[in-house]
Amino acid sequence: MVFKNLKFRINEFKEMDSKDRNRLIKETLINNSLLIFMLIAIIYIQIQRPQFLSRESIINIVSLSASAMPLALGVAGAIILTGTDLSAGRIVGLTACISASLLQAVDYSNKMFPDLPAIPIIVVFLLVIALGALIGFVNGFCVSKFSLHPFIVTLATQLMVYGVILMYLMNGDNNGQSISGLSSGFTELIKGSLFRIGGTPVPNYVLMAIVLTAVMWVVWNKTSFGKNMFAVGSNPEAANVSGVNVALTITLVFTLAGALYAFSGFIEAARIGSNSANTGLNYELDAIAACVIGGVSFVGGIGKIRGVVLGVVLLKLIFVGLNFLSVSVNMIYIIKGLIILVACAIDMRKYLVRK
């Protein structure tokens, strides 16, 4: 199928006159300029620091991408609806802190709740997923029923969730400190590895992220909910006239996003090991940047799972590469901002040219 499509495109290209051909090449180069730039940067970093793409480093990049993947998949849904979700990072923080506090080792001396017995991991997992989905539901309900802009709604939720995290950390014997001393069963479930590549262990959360990505692909492409999401993102009025329940679709997209953030939080709790109020800070910005780089359009109704995956991996590759080049952290923030700006300009350009 892919090869047939490619063959058709090559034939179409051959039949064009030179003017159209040049224009097509120019458009393709500009539309993919950020990806081309990133690939050149990766090649340059690899030449300068040959250990950059070593086996250990690649597994590290894949692991970092895997931990950010559920978050990016959730934010992508909100962007497809021409919205955004600023509460993502804080939901990750809250669910990470709750997971960590309920899954501390029984014999740990600085336990947040000293009298709390060991709770099964699955119970805590379902609890945080339900909590994330509930916060997402509130976001979606406010956006769909009161026609409020997702930017403002999720900004309000972000602040409220941050307040809840701060209050939660004051509970029990914790007194606002970081939560650490997690049970070995929990850390082993997330950070342990079922298999190794060339002697380097691959953490379990990479497998979890792969399974989740596959599930999200099915949800986006093979279910009526996924098709409704794209229809509402492209044109809500047309979707409404076609019989799509717009309000329900928007609410479900945000609820699903909330559950995905909670999944990220559950992973982050074990991955980081020491969770504080700063866990999840600015995570949503990386997720939004990854989505835009991956071609999820702010215009709405456009986006693919493979684009989100590509965006997340490329962004992590660049940042790990810049660390390899010893570029200062302050400068990385500026570069991150510029990447988002360029990605948005490319997205808008594609929209204008199509129009």
């Binding site: 300029s33 080049l325 570029v327 200062s328 400068m331 990447i339 700006l341 360029v342 350009r349």
Partner: protein, 55 residues
């Protein structure tokens, strides 16, 4: 709107070259695309500059 387009293409009109409304609108869209091109290439150049000065 039409007046503005006529003003913009005054020279062409005087040369008796037909200018349609769509052509005028297309020019407007094209200006935005050009501006976005500048942002894209300017942004990329700035990223390269930032990386170079921090090395």
């Amino acid at each position: 709107m039409e007046k503005v387009i006529v003003e913009e293409h005054k020279e062409n009109i005087e040369n008796k070259e037909p200018v349609t409304k769509i052509q005028g609108l297309y020019d407007r869209v094209n200006i935005s695309v050009k501006a976005l091109d500048r942002i894209i290439f300017g942004g990329l150049a700035l990223i390269v500059f930032m990386i170079i000065i921090s090395l």
